[in-house]
Subunit: 203 residues, 2 copies
């Protein structure tokens, strides 16, 4: 046997630019933040559908696919919320490197946690979208009955009721999800992506 593996076992690495070239658009994380009931998941899936119709490669990260999986060991204390957001940020970074447009939909109430993800991803790859809806509108919707449980004390540390929400100071996009229709909000996000050449076809 010829011991040639030291020579032959060398190899290059496919990089992000090559994956983006293949995809025809850039990778990034569209980070939706706002109160429970502000419509983050709904907006995320609407933006995704419009992007996929345009042959973009996307993925939505939200409570449905993260809280029961990667972060199933975490609760809702400030420390666990912090670690939850950190892990989502790290997954977003990997998926961005994979060339995907990631749309994340988490309350992410603490400014420092979101700024941590911004720092992790770097400017340009992190697009903070503030889903601005008044508490009374979100509480009025209360699709999952969570606000009622929070008011009755059945749920503790609930954002907006018994735990603070720190609105973004300088988000890339603000959408008024308590006032405007879904398409209006989705357009605002998509227009931002177009303006920043994220969707620029390189095919």
């Amino acid at each position: 046997m010829i011991q040639n593996h030291n020579i032959r076992w060398q190899h290059g690495i496919v990089n992000r630019a090559q994956r983006e070239q293949l995809n025809g658009h850039h990778g990034c994380v569209v980070w939706l933040t706002g109160l429970s009931g502000a419509g983050k998941s709904t907006l995320a899936h609407c933006v995704e559908e419009r992007l996929v119709a345009d042959r973009c490669h996307t993925y939505v990260l939200d409570g449905d696919n993260v809280r029961h999986g990667l972060c199933h060991d975490l609760g809702f204390t400030p420390e666990d919320r912090c670690e939850n957001i950190r892990r989502i940020g790290e997954v977003g970074k990997l998926m961005t490197d994979a060339g995907l447009i990631v749309i994340s939909a988490f309350i992410s109430p603490f400014r420092s946690d979101r700024d941590g993800v911004r720092k992790l991803l770097g400017e340009g790859d992190f697009i903070e979208v503030y889903c601005d809806a008044p508490l009374d509108v979100c509480e009025g919707r209360d699709v999952k009955g969570l606000y009622q449980k929070a008011r009755s004390g059945e749920l503790s540390e609930f954002t907006g009721i018994s735990s603070p929400y720190e609105a973004p100071l300088n988000p890339e996009v603000v959408v008024h999800t308590g006032r405007d229709g879904l398409d209006v909000c989705a357009d605002k996000v998509l227009n931002y992506l177009r303006d920043k050449n994220k969707l620029l076809s390189t095919r």
Copy 2:
């Protein structure tokens, strides 16, 4: 203002099948396991390059992009190794759902941890590839000088030296990375993917 958001704020969800349709292939995790120095990362990047040349959408998960990021809080105790593999499995599941062919390159020495990922992903989505290289060949390569450090006691709980490696009992693919050339091993993995119609173009 017309309070019509309860009607308009409903939306469908792009599913995995639609993403796979767009990509022209299926998502899955190709899970490389084997000793340090067995050539897992090199093989992973070679397989990725061949897949990208065929316009497949891929991502390599390995120590370089996971250990310093998502799993930077974890060490090398059995518990931490277990949590490390669990998180990688969860990320692999999300990326598979995103339609990517994920190639993961981790020693992943414990059978129970790998079986946990298999169960998480489900049969068909988890392709275990045993990178079978004798310890003396891996130790002879010792590219990073880790075996030397393990022998001298500088590194503890080092797989193959002071911590066990449990070879797969029934892997989908076995590649002899201590004996065969890189292209031979990559062919074997790619042929398996083709045989299982993972690369079937649906475009």
